[in-house]
Symmetry: C2
Subunit: 191 residues, 2 copies
DNA sequence: CGGCTTATTGAGCAATGCTCAATAGTATGC
DNA sequence: GCATACTATTGAGCATTGCTCAATAAGCCG
């Protein structure tokens, strides 16, 4: 097995496991056993346990972002609608995964200058980047869009909360979010 | 030292420590050493390591919520303004603490029926409860208010992000958030 | 085949989560 | 004031686990 495959295999195992429990509780023993390799090998691919965890979470972030990217040629509000639809659908289908991703996180460094990357917030930044390019929004609007992503994220998570689901389908939710964005922009940036 | 004091002491140590690093990396050895007690004693007060971590994070949540509660007699939009002001101020003053609280979280259970409590989302629910009673909002509006809290939280965190601070003071930010709430309500719930 | 690189192992160390029987210290009932 | 019950506290000890390192196996190129 080539190193590239190994790496992907190990990350894949992490991705499968991290839905069930917080990443930090995923022992390298377990990963090694599942992969059928020795514990020592993991340290050949990842310098430390947390490095492995970060790699897993980063992979999860890339995976989420990939499914959100709107179809080629679609722009403007239609693109935003696609993004929101896919986002809500994904949260709906794999609530545990997304929940674990956002809140079952590797902690952030207190000083922001640390080497660690905040992948959950990084994902928000990426999504808001998607939206901004789709709508042609410029720099001073990005904070608002960023916070709007947090808003959509929270609504989607609430919507899929077991037992508390208000409304049947996802359509009103998507409508609400898409309609909100221009309203926010009209409200003007908080600066 | 009475058990009540002990408990508070141990939680206090956790509260101080969990700003610097993710809670999960706080070893019981360290806590025991700092408290000047044996490791075994910790298991007399908390059944397991994660139980201790959860207790610490829950205490942090109570602490945050306490500072947000508006003054007696203040209601309506004025109360909302107070809440937002204090929230932003708190995030501003102790960014690391709040960041660690929301995102450096103990992971959530995949199945929602698990015994664990989601304290970060629980805090959001509590804050939105504060806002709803202040404004007299009824049940169908709560999801929107909840998501609005997420919006405010994200903006506040962005605002204190080192280097990326747009705008000088917190006033425009507070204005923006307070103004947004009735707009959201007017937009109607997504159901 | 011989030699180089590297993926891989396995032993071993130290930290740490956790258990448990023993102890010390305190309050209570008489 | 004494004995009893209770519990806070300890310390030894076990198993897991993050991590290191020297040794080995396995490919690859000449």
């Amino acid at each position: 097995m080539t190193p590239e495959e190994r790496r992907r295999q190990l990350l894949g195992i992490g991705l499968r496991k991290f839905v069930d429990r917080p990443v930090q509780e995923l022992s390298l023993d377990e990963v090694a056993a599942e992969a059928g390799v020795s514990r020592g090998l993991l340290f050949h691919y990842f310098p430390t346990k947390t490095a492995y965890h970060e790699a897993v979470v980063a992979a999860a972030g890339r995976r989420v972002l990939r499914t959100l990217r709107p179809d080629d040629g679609v722009t403007g509000e239609a693109a935003v609608r696609q993004i929101v639809e896919r986002f809500v659908a994904q949260v709906d289908r794999r609530r545990g995964f997304y929940l674990a991703f956002v809140y079952g996180q590797i902690g952030l460094p207190a000083g922001a200058a640390g080497p660690r990357q905040d992948v959950a917030i990084g994902l928000r930044r990426n999504i808001s980047g998607l939206v901004c390019t789709a709508m042609g929004y410029a720099a001073p609007l990005t904070p608002v869009v960023h916070a709007w992503v947090a808003y959509v994220e929270d609504l989607a998570l609430q919507h899929t909360e077991p037992g508390t689901s208000w409304g049947a389908g996802t359509a009103p939710l998507v409508d609400h979010c898409v309609a909100l964005l221009p309203v926010l922009v009209a409200l003007g940036p908080p600066a």
